[in-house]
Symmetry: C2
Subunit: 298 residues, 2 copies
C-alpha cells in the first residue's frame, strides 16, 4: 500500500490552526494570533495536508491563497469547532437546571419586540430568567452553534436559518435612513431603485465570507459601530427594518422602501434541542405573536 492510507479523526488543534491561517492568509500573523511560533504552524498545516491527501493552501512566495478544498475545510472546520465548543458549553451548563437562558440578538435590532418578549417570559411563571447577549451582525448563528447562546432573534430572509428550528414573531417592511437634508428625504416613499445608486450616499460594503469586499463606491465596514459612525456622518444610507430605531439619529429621516423584501423576526434555536426553559420561552414567544403590541405606532 502507499503512504496515503493515513488516519481520519483530525484534532481540534489542527482545525484551529488551519482556520487561523485561512482567515489571516499569512502564517506569521496566524501564528501570532495562536500564540505560537511560525515554524510549528507551517509544519502542522503541512502535516494536515498530508493526512488529508489534499492541497489546502497555495503558497506562492508572496502571500497565501485558499484552494477549493481549503475553502471547504474552512467552512467545515468552523462548524466542527463550533460543535466542539458547544459540547463543552452545554455540558458545563447542564448542571444547574435553574440557569438562565441565554438569548443572543444583533445589537440595535428588534428593541421593542425583545422588550415585550422578555416581559412575556417573565410573566410566565416557571420560565427561567433570560439573559440577553448582543453580537455583531450575522454572528447569531455561531453563538447558537457553539453553545454560547440557547436561542436567538434572527431575521428572515437576511440571516441563514439552515439547521435551526424557528418560530415567526413578526413581519415588517424596511425603511431607508437618510440625512434629513437630502433631497430623497422629502419623498413619502422610495423604491430599491431609488436608493441603489444615490450619488454621495453609496451603500456600505460588508466583507464576504472569505474576507474580501465586493466592488463598489461605498465605504468598507465590518462592524455595526463603524456603520453607526458613517450613518451619523451622513456618509452612507441604510435600508433596515422599520423597527430598528436604534440607528435613527436626530438628524436622520426614515422613509419606507415599498419594494424592499419584508423582514420577519424569528426566534431560532438549534434543531433538535429541547429543554423545559426553552419550550417555555417559545410558548411565550408564540403567545406574543398572537397579541398585537399594546400601543400600535400611529
Amino acid at each position: 500500500m502507499d503512504g496515503a492510507a493515513v488516519v481520519d479523526d483530525l484534532e481540534t488543534r489542527e482545525l484551529r490552526y488551519f482556520v487561523a491561517v485561512a482567515e489571516e492568509l499569512h502564517f506569521g500573523r496566524a501564528a501570532h494570533r495562536l500564540g505560537i511560533a511560525q515554524p510549528p504552524l507551517s509544519r502542522a498545516i503541512r502535516q494536515l495536508e498530508r493526512r488529508l491527501g489534499v492541497r489546502l493552501l497555495d503558497r506562492d512566495r508572496r502571500g497565501v491563497a485558499l484552494t477549493g478544498a481549503g475553502g471547504v475545510l474552512l467552512r467545515e472546520a468552523r462548524a466542527a469547532l463550533d460543535a466542539v465548543a458547544a459540547a463543552a458549553h452545554r455540558t458545563r451548563r447542564a448542571e444547574d437546571l435553574q440557569r438562565p437562558l441565554v438569548l443572543v440578538t444583533k445589537a440595535g435590532a428588534s428593541h421593542e419586540l425583545l422588550r415585550r418578549l422578555l416581559a412575556s417570559a417573565a410573566a410566565d411563571t416557571g420560565a427561567a430568567p433570560v439573559e440577553v447577549v448582543l453580537c455583531e451582525v450575522g454572528e447569531q448563528a455561531r453563538f447558537l452553534r457553539s453553545g454560547r447562546a440557547d436561542v436567538a432573534l434572527m431575521h428572515r430572509p437576511v440571516d441563514d436559518l439552515a439547521g435551526f428550528d424557528t418560530e415567526d414573531l413578526c413581519t415588517e417592511g424596511q425603511v431607508a435612513l437618510l440625512p434629513s437634508a437630502h433631497p430623497l428625504a422629502a419623498r413619502p416613499r422610495l423604491t430599491l431603485a431609488d436608493v441603489s445608486d444615490v450619488p454621495g450616499l453609496p451603500i456600505a460594503r460588508w466583507p464576504r465570507l472569505d474576507g474580501t469586499y465586493p466592488d463598489g463606491p461605498g465605504p468598507e465596514v465590518h462592524t455595526q459601530s463603524q456603520l453607526a459612525h458613517l450613518v451619523a456622518l451622513g456618509k452612507t444610507l441604510l435600508v433596515i427594518p422599520a423597527s430598528s430605531r436604534a440607528w435613527q439619529w436626530p438628524d436622520h429621516v426614515a422613509v419606507p422602501v415599498i419594494d424592499a423584501p419584508a423582514i420577519t423576526t424569528v426566534l431560532a434555536r438549534p434543531a433538535g434541542h429541547h429543554s423545559p426553559a426553552l419550550t417555555a420561552l417559545t410558548r411565550a414567544a408564540s403567545a406574543l405573536r398572537d397579541t398585537p403590541p399594546a400601543a400600535p405606532a400611529p
Copy 2:
C-alpha cells in the same frame, strides 16, 4: 483566582475517549475498543472532568453510570465528532467535481422507490452518478452528519429529521407481518391494539439511546439482521411500511394496520449544504413524486 479557570477547546481525542466509556460503561472494554490501556483512559476522563469542572460519570466500584451532564456530553460529543469527521470527508471529496453522490438508506426499505429514484437521476443528464450505501436502522442521520453520505432516504415520523433539509417523496400505510399460520393472518385488516399484545408474538425491543432496553416480553434486538432472523423464525411480529417487502418471507402474511401512522419517505440532506449534483438529485426526486409509479400494485 481559583483553579477552575481552565481552558475550553477540548481535543477530539478526549471526546472519543469519553464517548467510548459512555457507550461501554466500562473502562476496561472502552480502553480495549480504543486500542489503549485502561489507566491512561481513566486519567484522560478524570482530566476531562476537571477541565469541564463537572462530574460526568458515577463510578461506584461496580460499573459506571452517566450523570446528567455526562448524558449531555455524550450527545454533544457525538455531534462534534461527526462534524469533525465531516470536515475531513468533505474536504477530501471536494477535490474531484465528478465524484459520485453518496446516498445512504436503511437496508430493506423503499426498494422500489429507490430504484425509480436512481433511474430518474441517471436519466437526468448532468446529474452525477449515485453510489448507494446501506446502514442499520436510524443510522442515516449520522452518515449525513459525519459526511460519509451526501443525502439519505429517511422516514417521517420515525426518523429524527432535525437539522436536515427534506423533500417528501411518498407516503404509505403500514402493514403487520405475521406467520401465515397465525390466527390474525386471516383478518383483512388490523389495528394497533390488535397487534400490540399478541400472545406468543411480542414486539421486538430496540435499545434506547443510552443503550438500555425498554421493559417488555419481546426479544432484544439491535440490528436488522437479528430481527430478520426472529421474523423468519416466527418469534416476533413487525409493523412496517407497506413497501418494505424485503422483510416478507414466503411463509409470512402482510396485513394492513389501518390506524398505524402513515410513513413518509423523504430525501434528506444536511441543512445549508448545496452542490450542483445534490440539487440535480433533489430535482429528480421531486419530479418522481409528481409521477406515480408506472405499474401501480393491484
